[in-house]
């Protein structure tokens, strides 16, 4: 992979605009709104003159030396921040990429991820609230819908209640030797498990038999909930 060499990535006009708006979103979050500071930052990260283009394109406006995003700009920036941070989560939790590859890849992905893919990733990850760096992930439609109905759909096994059933979506014990043990004991993506009890150890019933494990291990097993308390909320 050559991402390391070409980062920041040379890109089309459109991608530059998206990238710049994404950067502005992050800076605004942290309370940085001064034009002078932001201009320097954008110039370094993307190219000289990009801020002028944003203002001319009607994405950003300025008052008293401070910058402010227009409705059009805000929509794109929101999507960029959301896609970038979801991508980071995906690369970190599910694909387990080394840390130095997370950001460059997320920067590329944010431009190619479509709305549908964005929501699918969000659902797969259980509508996460924050990216690996701790920035909050702006919620999308899918999150709103999910919150209204069931709460996060994909959740770690350790958060499930007795009697709940779920299908394993992924396991994330980062390179821990237990990963293999869990997999070979039948906790593979796709298999359906039911929580028998949660204390003093997590006990689950799998098609392969009954397994007992430390809650620590249960933190690393992510399931898509099927019934139980989740469905109960839905009815209310």
């Amino acid at each position: 992979m050559d991402v390391n060499k070409k980062y920041p990535i040379p890109s089309t006009e459109e991608e530059d605009v998206e990238q710049a708006l994404g950067i502005l979103w992050t800076q605004f979050e942290q309370g940085v709104i001064k034009k002078s500071e932001l201009e320097a930052l954008l110039q370094e990260a993307i190219r000289p003159g990009i801020l002028e283009d944003l203002i001319q394109g009607g994405f950003v406006s300025q008052t008293d030396g401070n910058l402010c995003m227009s409705g059009k700009g805000l929509t794109i920036a929101h999507d960029m921040a959301r896609r970038h941070r979801l991508a980071e989560r995906l690369l970190t939790d599910v694909l387990e990429l080394p840390r130095e590859q997370i950001d460059p890849n997320a920067c590329r992905l944010e431009h190619v991820i479509t709305r549908d893919v964005e929501n699918a990733i969000c659902t797969l990850l259980g509508h996460p609230q924050a990216c690996p760096h701790g920035f909050s992930i702006p919620p999308g439609e899918c999150c709103m819908k999910a919150l209204k109905h069931t709460g996060p759909i994909v959740a770690p096994l350790s958060s499930m209640l007795e009697g709940q059933e779920g299908q394993i979506v992924y396991l994330s014990p980062h390179n821990r030797p237990e990963l293999h043990r869990l997999l070979s004991m039948g906790l593979v993506p796709g298999s359906v498990v039911r929580v028998v009890q949660t204390s003093p150890a997590v006990v689950v019933s799998t098609p392969d038999g009954i397994l007992a494990m430390d809650p620590v291990l249960a933190d690393h097993i992510f399931l898509r909930r099927k019934n139980g308390a989740g469905a109960h909320h839905e009815k209310q």
Binding site: M185, A201, G209, D214, L217
Partner: protein, 640 residues
């Protein structure tokens, strides 16, 4: 011909092995108790077949000792491979079959526990499965010997599986790349190497001169994959298994319901929950104590020691030795104070054998019911405090029976750190049943506060010493992960077979240790060194611990026989030579003090001399320190 039985834990490998060979081996429900690899010969159609029973495994990728043992067995001694499987659990069975198929060894798949599978509503098309895999598939019920004849016959039709795993293209490319680096003979381990965490130099078979290159090649390949390779392999095998299952299996509608033995399964669930689980645990431990501690250690021991050995066997032997052996040196060695007959064999057969027998019966019963893994779940948190996990329940409970035996089962613990920790605690703070009997007798005549003090010191030592040493020993504890087998009613015949095989092990492996120990003590005594050691130690006992000089002998003898030490003190107490304070101090000291010599030898065998010496040094130091402390505190409190 040689046939190796392989399969997941708790699928009935050992029962099948017994049926095929007629030899006694350990069979149990507790994951991983087939500690040694059992071998035996059986006759199949006039041919002698050497059967090997391997420890249960989940995969050939090794994490535990058991998996390492089995992997080397399979890599080094191909003959016929009999995969024994739980017929109720075809998905994981096939996943392992696919993994085994890569070894290219002639194979038979034995679907065991067919009776349970039938009653759970599973219908399996064995013929179609056999066609797909290209190996014989036989249905059996090992406990009733059903299908065994067919299994024997199938050994002669065994063939390397025709089945070829179809991994994703990038994985297949990786396998081919690695194969190019390997000598022709070893190509088949390519996939296995890719899935393993262990460095290639740990692999048997692999010539050391190429292992460096292989490691480098593996590193390159792994970097190309976003996800851990073992995960990709397992998921791929599972997917293929699901496709095959769709063709050969009709399963019941509700996969989680348990039609057979509902009451037993409800009991099984109760045993897992805090309520009434802890109550059941207390009841079970109480029953264990009544059976082993009272019936075995008191009633049966009393009868055997006083009536059988004291009244008949030893007098007869003594007379015989006097008649037949003219040399006093040899006479003393056989029937003297430290004689092989009068001390070692009396101890081994009159004292320990009844305890061990009742203990094996009780333990075998608990194992076969499937209760022990449930107890592990309940006690997991408590064991966490001392750096162990729920799996340590077995060695610790065994330790209350006999520490020597308990040491052997520390093998089931996952890491070296846990094994050393468990061995240390067994040596320091777990009194064995022989000792407990005398300790209870001693405290019975005293005020309750002495017993309470003793109990407090022992429990505090167990938790405190465990906690401290778990912090000091390097390494992280393995997280608790255990399969919980269904509750079953033990079958008397299998239980007795198991107890018989363990008793045989006791007689052949442990009794000699008693004899060596007695001989060592005899020579020390004959050379006059015992007296010298006693004189050397006396100041410690009288000065530091404030005990009468005569107690020194009790501590020295206590090394050979834990209960003799305690019994020596008991004698002193009955003669009125121990005050209340001295009784309390000596009880604490004898409990914490060195384990018996058999346990010491077992520790050397299992942990090595260096670790055992370190443990011994620590135990002696700690026992003296705490006993001296108790002595000082009691003196300060005005106990005389």
């Amino acid at each position: 011909m040689r046939a190796v039985l392989v399969g997941h834990p708790n699928v009935g490998k050992s029962v099948l092995f017994n049926a095929l060979t007629g030899k006694y081996v350990t069979v149990s429900n507790y994951p991983g108790t087939t500690v040694d690899v059992a071998q035996g010969t059986g006759r199949v159609r006039g041919h002698l077949v050497e059967f090997v029973d391997s420890p249960g495994i989940y995969s050939l990728v090794s994490h535990s000792e058991e998996e390492k043992v089995t992997r080397s067995l399979l890599l080094q001694s191909p003959g016929v491979l009999i995969q024994v499987a739980d017929a109720k659990n075809l998905a994981r069975t096939l996943s392992l079959t696919f993994e085994l198929s890569e070894l290219n060894i002639p194979m038979v798949l034995c679907l065991n526990m067919m009776d349970e599978a039938d009653s759970w509503g599973y219908r399996i098309d064995a013929e179609r499965l056999s066609e797909i895999l290209g190996i014989p598939v036989v249905k059996t019920v090992a406990t009733t010997q059903e299908g065994l004849e067919e299994l024997r016959k199938s050994l002669f039709q065994a063939a390397p599986p025709k089945w070829k795993n179809s991994y994703p293209p990038e994985v297949q490319r990786a396998i081919r790349n690695l194969q190019a680096e390997l000598p022709d003979k070893l190509r088949f381990i390519s996939a296995l190497l890719l899935q393993n965490h262990t460095p290639p130099e740990d692999f048997p078979l692999l010539p050391p001169q190429i292992s460096g290159r292989i490691a480098h090649c593996l590193e390159n390949i792994r970097r190309r994959f976003l996800r851990p390779l073992p995960a990709i392999f397992i998921e791929s095998r599972r997917e293929q298994a699901a496709l095959v299952l769709a063709e050969v299996l009709t399963s019941p509608a509700a996969p989680f319901s348990v039609p057979a033995g509902r009451g037993l399964q409800v009991l099984g669930q109760w045993c897992l929950r805090p309520w009434p689980g802890y109550l059941i645990a207390v009841l079970a431990l109480w029953a264990l104590y009544e059976f082993v501690g009272v019936l075995g250690a008191q009633i049966a021991v009393d009868f055997l020691e006083n009536t059988v050995f004291g009244g008949t066997v030893n007098p007869v032997l003594t007379r015989a030795v006097h008649l037949l052996v003219p040399w006093p040196f040899l006479r003393d060695m056989l029937i003297g104070d430290y004689g092989v007959f009068t001390m070692a064999l009396t101890y081994a057969f009159a004292l320990i054998l009844p305890i061990v027998t009742t203990f094996f019966l009780a333990l075998g019963f608990l194992e076969d019911t499937g209760y022990l893994p449930r107890l592990s779940v309940l006690l997991n948190r408590a064991f966490k405090i001392i750096g162990l996990n729920g799996k340590a329940v077995l060695p610790m409970i065994l330790g209350v029976g006999c520490g020597t035996m308990a040491l052997l089962t520390t093998r089931i613990l996952d890491t070296k750190k846990e094994r050393i920790l468990a061995s240390f605690l067994l040596a320091l703070a777990v009194p064995c049943s022989a000792q407990l009997g005398v300790i209870f007798a001693m405290t019975a005549g005293l005020s309750g506060s002495v017993f309470a003090l003793w109990l407090f010191v022992v429990v505090a030592t167990f938790l405190g010493a465990g906690w401290v040493s778990s912090k000091l020993l390097p390494g992280a504890p393995a997280p608790f992960l255990m399969e919980i087998p269904p509750m079953r009613l033990p079958q008397m015949k299998n239980l007795l077979t198991k107890v018989a095989s363990r008793l045989k092990w006791y007689v052949w492996e442990v009794v000699p240790l008693f004899i060596y120990g007695t001989l060592a003590l005899y020579f020390l005594d004959a050379l006059g060194w015992l007296g010298a050691v006693e004189r050397f130690c006396a100041p410690l006992i009288t000065g530091l611990l404030g005990l009468p000089e005569k107690a020194t002998e009790a501590f020295l003898v206590g090394f050979l026989r834990r209960d003799y030490g305690a019994a020596g003190l008991y004698q002193l107490q009955r003669q009125g030579l121990l005050s209340l304070r001295q009784s309390a101090v000596s009880l604490v000291a004898i409990t914490l003090f060195m384990p018996c010599i058999a346990q010491w030898f077992m520790s050397v065998k299992e942990r090595g001399l260096k670790v055992t010496l370190a443990i011994s040094g620590l135990v002696i130091f700690y026992a003296l320190l705490v006993s001296a402390g108790v002595n000082q505190i009691l003196l300060a409190l005005g106990w005389s």
